[in-house]
Amino acid sequence: MSYLSIKNIDFSYKTKKVINSISLEISQGEITCLLGPSGCGKTTLLQLIAGLEAIDKGTIKIDGKIISDKRTRLHVAPEKRETGIMFQDYALFPHLSVEENIFFGVQNPTEKQKSDIYSLMSMAKINEFKERFPHTLSGGQQQRIALIRALARKPKIILLDEPFSGLDISLRSEIRDETISILKSLDVTTIIVTHDPQEALQTADQVHIMKDGRIEQSGSPREIYQFPANDFIARFIGETNILSGIILEPGYDEVMTNIGSIPCLSMRNLDFGTDAFISIRPESFALDDQGEFEARTEKIQYAGTHLLIEVTLLNEIGRGQQLKIHTHPNARVSIGEIIRFRIVPDFVTVIEDGAKRN
């Protein structure tokens, strides 16, 4: 049974529909990422869960208890929901000390609560500056205080709105690891909103990709990356080559495209003979002197972890088709060189037809 259950909710800001019949199930203790470009409604969804906005349609349940229901006009006030939220700007209270900030949500704490919170504080290494005021602290320290403040009440769900985007790049991955390990050790159900695909893939158990108020695809990071459901997702998460083609006979898992027949890992259960698009991740190409494709390099970009090469095909079938290829960063290639490569099917998938969908 899912811990947070969202059924068919709608929300409009003035006349603009920001959330369009979204349903979502989240299991207890899971870390979930809502991923999408800005304006896709992900932050609004977070605010609806926290009760800061009221839904126009549908139901939200936490732990089996209904907290928002349009039909019965039920809307549990945000202070009664037991959801913790952390904002991008941390929203620390400037007139309260670190300790007062953290204890703000725990009125008349018991001895047990106190010792729990102090051990949380020592886990997050903020004990030594608990007397200080927020504006005297660094961004990373402020982030941890905001996190512990939200956790101090032992909320049923913790909601993090762009939790790492306010941090310097150099600090970001370190603080992200720390945060995730704190959340994992407490086994707390977490929703993280982010616009950074890399961050979502690295932190989440489950990723939900949003666009224009809808959820486009849900799945594990691996599923999302390997089998993007459509061209938007394929392009949003990493780089890709999208080609059109026709599904060959069932059982062969191959699509006939303008550059020839390509083996695919997922066929999305489409009938043979139908038109389809495929996404080939640049990682699906491997340089190989015996490879079936021959191409001229047009552009080379060194990215540290890999080399991005843009090529134009020279094969008879598909001559002139442009492709993006990733190789090991040590490969020595120069512009204008003729190279050969082959396809490995790990990162090739059939995607939904973007034109039909709209």
Binding site: E53, E79, R81, T83, I85, D89, A91, F104
Partner: protein, 543 residues
């Protein structure tokens, strides 16, 4: 870009501001006739008590109205909210003494209200019923509260609007309801702004002469005038002034404290537009009335009465007198506005260019005039000009021939000292939009410093200069105590004219004059409300 060419004018302006203050301190320390003992035995305690009581009353009143209306229009959505946002500023247009005259006329024994009550209940004499006396300390508190609350409203409105909405939302998700959040988060964060707002209000209370004089309330301000005009003791007046300056110092300190704290309270970087509580039903109606009542009593009703009286009592055969008074006020205020703005420009550039701590300290000091009550300043200016006259006569070896004290120069001088802070403030803030890099960019693009001034600086700061001139102009038009004390013999301005008629219990006959003052006072309200609506548009664009 350190240049010292502004140092000399700044020094001169400092002397000009300091002159009257030093003169008071000097005369209070070495009085020619020491009535201090006499004052202590008779009125000093009463002055202190009444002044404190008046300040506390108006402070609480303006806080209640200002904070509640500001919170409603920034944090809630209810019918009429958008209009209330600017309309709540309207009472600012009416000087306290004018609203006091109007309500006295309305509420005194022979006024419309009591007369109607008597007719309705067929009461015969004052002993038949009880009616609150308007000309009392309580009456003065009400009058001042209704026209001064906009200071608190303005500052707390900005403060509430600047509080990041995520701070409020975090508090909600941490288990605090709307009221708890208001008292634990919104109010403490707004405290510095409220301190500034209330100290500005109280400075106005100390400055007010018209109301306390008319209501016969014995505050320091009224006392200074009394000791000087009726007891003919300028030493006594300056001694009382020094006592009053102690109150002023306290207010200045509070205001500075608020300004220091303000920056730290609003430290969040990203700003989200406030999520307003949607009020419906009775909550919406209550909010509507909470916002309507101060406007109704502070502006609408008084204006209607003035308009009615203007029609009824205006003597159309005598319009020359009105036009003469009007042009006196206009000329005097325009000259003062120009002079003060020029001083303000010098201070603004001095502040921008000089990093020297001493010079910057002098510039800060020059803004002190706004805190000094008009009657105190008038006493100082009189003493100071007396010395200047003596000096000039000594130089030119004549006796009693040259007298600046009897000319308009002395009023323009006093206005400039008192309103310099207004001018400096608006010029300083517009100058801050010309960043040092703009100068650098202009110079590297081939403009010399003169061309930079004309092509970059003037276009950017011209609005600030204009705002400075308008604000000073309007305040001069309304000013009463200094004008009353310093004006040349038989020289009437709008404010002295209204005061004169009211003192003779003929206020209705000067209704048109009073209306002219109120209409002038509406100008800055329009400017302010334009600023508010352009802020709103910007917020709208961001969402």
């Amino acid at each position: 870009m350190q240049t010292k060419k502004f140092d000399f004018p700044i020094l001169l302006i400092t002397l000009m501001i300091a002159g009257p203050i030093i003169a008071i301190l000097w005369l209070a320390s070495f009085p020619s006739d020491d009535i201090w003992k006499h004052l202590i035995q008779t009125v000093l305690f009463r002055y202190t008590y009444t002044t404190c009581f008046l300040m506390i009353g108006v402070g609480i009143g303006t806080l209640l109205i200002g904070v509640s209306s500001a919170w409603l229009v920034t944090c809630c959505e209810f019918s009429g909210r958008r209009h209330f946002e600017w309309a709540l500023l309207l009472p600012m247009a009416i000087p306290a003494y004018i609203i006091a005259f109007i309500y006295t006329d309305l509420l005194e024994y022979s006024g419309t209200v009591q007369e109607s009550l008597r007719i309705f209940f067929s009461w015969k004499s004052p002993s038949d019923y009880w009616f609150p006396e308007i000309r009392s300390l309580g009456g003065a508190i009400f009058m001042m509260t209704f026209v001064l609350y906009p200071y608190v409203y303005l500052l707390s409105r900005v403060s509430f609007a600047e509080q990041s909405s995520s701070i409020i939302e975090v508090s909600r998700t941490l288990g605090r309801g709307p009221w708890d959040t208001f008292f634990r988060i919104s109010m403490p964060l707004a405290r510095p702004s409220l301190a500034i707002g209330v100290s500005l209000v109280l400075m106005e209370v100390l400055n007010d002469f018209g109301t306390v004089d008319f209501f016969a309330i014995e505050t320091f301000t009224a006392g200074i005038y009394d000791v000087w005009m009726n007891m003919d003791s300028i030493s006594g007046a300056s001694q009382l002034s020094v006592a009053l300056l102690i109150f002023v110092l306290f207010l200045l300190f509070t205001e500075k404290w608020g300004r220091r704290k303000q920056t730290f309270s609003n430290n969040t970087k990203t700003k989200k537009p406030i999520r307003r509580y949607q009020l419906q039903g009775y909550k919406s109606s209550i909010s509507f009335f909470v916002c309507l009542i101060p406007i109704l009593f502070g502006f609408i009703l008084p204006s209607l009465i003035l308009i009615r009286d203007s029609f009824i009592f205006y003597d159309f055969g005598d319009n020359f007198e009105f036009l003469k008074t009007m042009s006196n006020s206009f000329i005097l205020s325009s000259l003062s506005a120009v002079t003060t703005t020029i001083f303000g420009i010098f201070l603004g550039y001095g502040q921008r260019i000089r990093k020297n701590k001493f010079i910057r300290g002098l510039i800060r000091f020059c803004s002190i005039g706004y805190a000094i009550p008009g009657s105190v300043l008038a006493v100082g200016v009189i003493i100071f000009f007396g010395k200047i006259d003596e000096f000039l006569n000594f130089i030119f070896e004549v006796t009693g021939e040259i007298s600046l004290s009897g000319t308009l120069i002395i009023i323009i001088y006093a206005y400039s000292v008192r309103f310099l802070a207004l001018s400096f403030g608006s010029i300083e803030s517009s100058l801050s939009k010309v960043t040092p890099n703009m100068d650098a960019a202009s110079r590297t693009l081939g403009m010399n410093s003169r061309k930079t001034l004309f092509k970059v600086h003037i276009p950017i700061i011209q609005k600030g200069v204009l705002a400075s001139a308008i604000l000073v102009f309007v305040d001069c038009m309304k000013e009463l105590p200094m004008t009353l004390i310093l004006r040349p013999f038989n020289f009437e301005t709008l404010s002295t004219n209204v005061y004169q008629f009211a003192s003779d219990e003929l206020f209705e006959e000067s209704a048109l004059t009073a209306l002219a003052i109120v209409l002038t006072g509406v100008i800055p309200v329009i400017i302010l409300s334009n600023i508010i609506s352009s802020e709103n548009n910007q917020i709208g664009e961001n969402t």
